[in-house]
Assembly symmetry: D2
Homo-oligomer: 212 residues x 4
């Protein structure tokens, strides 16, 4: 395995979209910690942001005014090569916090340049999903579609996840060790995302020919 050692040459940003305040134990936080470790082995520095700890105002503009924490978070998105949405599963669906983060990136659509490229272009998106039971693929689907519509690229197997058996109550954060199949999915997701982010950094999407 060719591992780029620090100093890091790529940056990742992971949104922890747990409903919990940052100081509470969170399975999503534990999984994103595993993602960050895997990213570091590939020379990628990953910052994890606990979205519920910020005041991300409702809206679809890049700045919703007084008290809005989104502009600072948006700057982190733009400064990153890889963006990961980490979401718990509630009622089989992404968390309202994940939806809020994605919604705020809707502004990218109207911020596309004349060449059709949004501010997010060239960035690689991914998803990390945990729940007691059931829902990871659908949460992945919602995140994939939102990220892709908003200009992100999805490497093969852009999802790592864990869920327990139906109608049971185990927590990812209590698993020791993490099941090997999920650890493997995390490494695969990270490996592919990093590979693609490097390709796109060196060879950006051309955009439409504005001279035409």
């Amino acid at each position: 395995m060719t591992v780029t050692k620090p100093p890091f040459d790529l940056r990742a940003l992971a949104f922890n979209c747990s409903l919990k305040s940052p100081e509470q134990p969170s399975s999503t936080a534990v999984m994103l910690g595993h993602v960050r470790e895997a990213l570091a082995l590939h020379g990628v520095d990953c910052e994890i942001v606990s979205a519920a700890g910020f005041n991300i105002l409702p809206g679809v503009r890049s700045d919703e005014g007084l008290g809005d924490d989104w502009p600072a978070l948006r700057a982190k998105v733009i400064a990153s090569d890889i963006v990961i949405i980490g979401s718990p599963i509630w009622i089989g669906q992404p968390s309202s916090v994940a939806k809020r983060v994605l919604e705020r990136m809707d502004a990218f659509l109207s911020e596309a340049g004349e060449d059709g490229r949004m501010p997010s272009y060239g960035r690689v998106g991914a998803a990390a999903v945990v729940g007691n039971e059931d829902g990871a693929h659908h949460v992945g689907a919602e995140i994939y579609q939102a990220l892709n519509d908003l200009g992100f690229t999805l490497a093969a197997n852009a999802l790592t996840y864990w869920v327990g058996e139906a109608r049971t109550g185990r927590e990812y954060r209590d698993l020791a060790p993490v099941p090997e199949s999920t650890a493997d999915a995390t490494r695969m997701m990270v490996r592919n995302a990093v590979h693609l982010a490097r390709l796109l950094k060196n060879a950006p999407y051309p955009g439409k020919d504005v001279g035409a």
Copy 2:
């Protein structure tokens, strides 16, 4: 058409899950106004709540503590026979505000009685969805699944909606008049929801036999 005249014998609660603050013009608000008018013709009093104007804390308990506006809204849900989720479409998905409202009702799962019936049992759910373009059926699907999992019953054709042609920007609130097909869907949704709510009020779900 047998119309129960006021005094109303049923109550409905509609959540306007627009991202906008209550004083801004909102297509979701306009559609919920139409739903309310249709409900009134059937003897149902409908209160519309602008969810974005409340401080609904993240979480899945019925009371998330200091400053949480959900407990008062939850009381309105419990006092209603029909609950309508009115959501705009963003990135083809329900709004983060709609997700938050549904998420808070997740607590019903752990509040089911010994007989398996949640506090929501016997209530009829419905959805009213508007967007510039595309996404109404999927937003309906997400709302249906959440409401149904959380104990609500869905009458036939539990969705009324309007969306414009792909990649255009018209707004439901600017349509005059409302297209007859959408007006018809609104009336049908309301007629069926009211019929079912009356049936269930008179003959509640039995729940499991706790003496067994």
Copy 3:
């Protein structure tokens, strides 16, 4: 528990939408067997149809012509009070066979009477979903939305399901005994569906006032 003894007063139809041919072992078949047992205790006679064993032609008309087995299956739908879609989960989504069955009921939309009521009106829909891992709620959501749009009513908790832990390979048909929580969900789904089907049989949706 008030149990109506046979002779049965209601009829249910369950589509087994497994990809397997009828003679192969199928977890969906096992689960539908459990649903049928629960229905019988409530006085409901349930026929299970292995959809993959029929030639259901692609299309959205009630009869797609020579060799189409759908017309006979459609007649069974119309003769039933409760219709259950039993689907395995593949790639986190409903099976192509389940999609085909739902698609053929799309014709109900154009077969609505002047009063707006489709041939399906008054019938109660439900879903029974099994998979190795992950996807039941989303498969439920897709089935709910399709059935509801096509005129079926959904009782509270219209889904029973089982899935294993993430990325494992257990099968529902090998579980002995069935986990109590899933058995409980099956009984609840059946109890509610039967209650609602009896209410709607005695008091059908009124439809729009065609004399108006």
Copy 4:
């Protein structure tokens, strides 16, 4: 715009997943024709396959035996650099034919090499969706998630689509000319997919280090 002239250096395969037989007029076919024209301008040869004209047996193995047309279609997938799922929208969801095609690629999961790479790795996926009204983003989401889980990579804006206004009945094949915004989405989808396919062809995903 740098356009690679024929001889083509990349190959694309588009599945027309219309429910119609190949000789019937199909909006999906018309849209895929537009996709093929755009691909040709980028030096990509695109074959369009009318899936409903083949006998794709139900199942999740690469060969389901006697009479199965999938093995030949699978060979076309493997010989392609870009794979496009063209689906109509029925009941707001992908067609049963699209589901069948995706389901058959489920076999890739068990055909991954020791290094974790599926036979699909390195290929770029995309979606082209048309309907009378509503559903394109969700159909896109289902296709994205299936393709991505099955090893395909998704370039930014991997969907082109058209739908009409809610509850109307226009057809993409009758639009003349195609709305510029949809034509623009088609070109963008194609431009990005081709760019990414070239990158991945020259620099494949590494897979896990099997010597480790």
